[in-house]
């Protein structure tokens, strides 16, 4: 990144803009000189089919019935047309599908909103405010990313049962309200995206710290906050281990409920796969709406380290 004008951009528009400008210049040069052949497209198509085929297979089984599945180990690529019958059997089974769906929506939404808020708050503090112990605490945050907290489940379960929270959604929500990654991510982003001048201007206008945060830092953090929220939502929606332990079958989240299908109706593969299919539809819809953001988020996170 040594092009002459980049330092100028760094001074005028912040480090992030400079980095982006430099990157843009590089991709342009690289792109025009390297033209992919059909082999690339072929390999990528195979990968794409590999990503979709297992999901389509689930849908094919979900639209057939046990007898058909027994006779045809390799199902016809055209669906059998019993999908909605099987789905309605899932909805009427005793896994409490609607409750599980509602629970998953509540848990994932609450976790995403609070995690983004707390992370942005901490990221604002770490990136733009000066205080004693700042660097030490930030190093601590980064180090905790490597802590396998899942191994603390036994005491966590003991605590939850003493609070009488077992079986309740709050037991799933609270441990997921903050992550070291979230704080680190927002700190990194705000460091480059939020110029000091903006905060100073609001301070000069007499705004309190929290007002500066709310009216200056939070709007500036939006692109990164949206990505963090999406990743948190996906992570929360797909998590199984802790909800499975602490919630139990009476008040499940979606993965816990779908898993119950296998435990109680393991011979009825069409039913199980119908449950699987409906359970993955919400996130696939989300993916089509916001997949670009997920892609951009992963790629930005990777460059920043």
């Amino acid at each position: 990144m040594s092009a002459p004008s980049v330092p100028v951009i760094a001074q005028t528009a912040g480090k992030g803009a400079a980095r982006a400008a430099a990157r843009r210049r590089h991709t342009k040069v690289g792109g025009s000189e390297r033209r992919p052949g059909w082999v690339s497209y072929l390999i990528l198509t195979v990968v794409l089919i590999g990503s979709i085929l297992p999901l389509y297979y689930a849908f094919l089984l979900a639209s057939s019935n046990s007898a058909y599945i027994a006779q045809h180990p390799i199902p016809s690529l055209i669906p059998q047309g019993e999908f909605f019958d099987n789905v309605s059997r899932v909805l009427n089974s005793d896994i409490q599908f609607w409750k599980a769906l509602g629970n998953s929506i509540i848990v994932a939404t609450v976790q995403a909103v609070f995690l983004v808020f707390f992370s942005t708050l901490a990221g604002f503090s770490f990136s733009k405010l000066r205080f004693r112990g700042r660097n030490g605490l930030l190093v601590f945050v980064i180090a905790t990313q490597a802590v396998p907290t899942q191994l603390g489940i036994v005491p966590l379960f003991i605590v939850m049962s003493q609070l009488h929270w077992t079986g309740k959604l709050i037991a799933v929500i609270v441990p997921g309200l903050v992550t070291a990654f979230g704080v680190f991510w927002m700190t990194q982003y705000l460091e480059s995206a939020l110029p000091y001048e903006l905060i100073e201007a609001s301070r000069v206008d007499g705004a309190s710290m929290i007002r500066s945060f709310w009216h200056v830092a939070l709007p500036a953090a939006r692109p990164a906050a949206v990505m963090l929220g999406l990743f948190t939502f996906v992570g929360s929606w797909t998590s199984f281990f802790w909800p499975f332990i602490v919630l139990g079958p009476e008040n499940p989240t979606l993965p816990v409920a779908v898993q119950l299908l296998q435990a109680s109706y393991f011979k009825d593969m069409a039913l199980i796969m119908a449950g699987v299919t409906v359970s993955i539809i919400p996130l696939i819809v989300l993916f089509f709406v916001a997949g670009r953001q997920l892609v951009a988020g992963i790629m930005q996170g990777a460059v920043k380290g």
Partner: protein, 336 residues
């Protein structure tokens, strides 16, 4: 740097406009000073408090529980020293769990790295419909491990599974994907890779795009073809990213639970525990037949130490590699 020159102004307290609120200047200045002093701590406190309560404390308290006779229903019992550890270490199932965890980890990680780097190299070109392909590889990431495991459990069914049927058509005898040790590990590793290869592909793609293009130009001038460029420029420049991906997949991979748990309807890792992982063993000891939190904690603590040791090994390798890189004057990734 703009950072150090402008920030002290923030610490002077909120300068108020005397014309607007003349009477309250003194009070609001005191308030402003407290605001400036305390706010930074206040804003980071939710993370530290919640992390301490739900992350750090349980992990450390695991050590305490592991030294006691502690039951799921009965609660805390007597102090028993290292009895739980000696008991656990004598269990064949514990060692099977450790073996299976590492086996699944290696079988999933190595092909995943190769695949992800290869696909990233395909994407790191002037493709048509770039976003389409990038989104395409990421799709499996949003599928819950529970769903992946139920689907793959059927794909890899021993009797009527689609994979064994296809193998039969090309004359290969059916493989005991559930019955045998290594095949079951391969099946579970394939679930992990299904979900994570695309994610890591994008991580590698980002790293590839940060490689200065003049390195490729120099390689072209030296007469290197595309394959040679890939192995002599791309792969060496990706080393820090490879280490990063390996470290993150170690922390997650050694705690694997969802995929093996749901690989069959019983959830115990097979009749002879051929695919039971360490975390599944924690669950079985703590919440299964024994309901012994003391022993489950002992297993968790041992697993924690193993992850710590693997992490330290990873870290020392990383350091050696990054010092190699700087000695070669290669561009280093800024990790803060």
């Amino acid at each position: 740097m703009a950072t150090s020159t402008t920030s002290p102004q923030l610490n002077r307290g909120g300068p108020t406009d005397p014309g607007r609120t003349p009477r309250r200047v003194g009070f609001s200045q005191t308030l402003g000073r407290w605001d400036v002093k305390l706010s930074p701590y206040l804003y980071i406190s939710p993370f530290f408090i919640l992390f301490a309560l739900t992350g750090l404390f349980p992990l450390l308290y695991t050590a305490f529980v592991s030294l006691h006779d502690w039951n799921l229903i009965g609660g805390k019992g007597e102090f028993v020293g290292f009895e739980n550890y000696t008991y656990v270490l004598q269990q064949p199932n514990f060692w099977k769990g450790i073996r299976n965890t590492f086996s699944i980890f290696f079988i999933s990680t190595i092909p995943q790295l190769i695949l992800a780097i290869t696909i990233a190299a395909m994407l790191d070109a002037n493709l048509r419909a770039k976003t389409f392909w990038r989104m395409g590889v990421l799709l499996p990431y949003v599928i819950a491990p529970v769903a992946v495991s139920l689907i793959f459990g059927k794909l890899f069914a021993d009797q009527s599974g689609i994979i064994n049927t296809l193998l039969g058509k090309v004359g290969v005898d059916p493989i005991g994907w559930h019955a045998q040790v290594l095949p079951s590990h391969i099946a579970i590793a394939s679930m992990v890779d299904f979900r994570w290869t695309g994610f890591n592909t994008l991580v590698f793609l980002a790293a590839m795009q940060a490689i200065p293009r003049d390195l490729y130009e120099a390689a072209v001038l030296d007469g290197a073809n595309r394959v040679r460029q890939f192995f002599s420029v791309t792969v060496p420049m990706l080393r820090p990213t490879i280490i990063f991906v390996v470290i993150t997949s170690t922390i997650g991979g050694l705690q694997i639970f969802d995929e093996p748990r749901l690989f069959d309807q019983v959830g115990q890792g097979g009749p002879s525990r051929q695919w039971m992982t360490a975390t599944m063993y924690i669950y079985e000891v703590g919440w299964g037949n024994q309901k012994s939190f003391g022993r489950a904690s002992a297993v968790a603590w041992i697993l924690f130490l193993i992850i710590l040791i693997v992490g330290i090994i990873n870290f020392s390798i990383t350091r050696r590699i990054s010092s190699d890189e700087s000695s070669k004057k290669a561009r280093k990734k800024v990790v803060r």
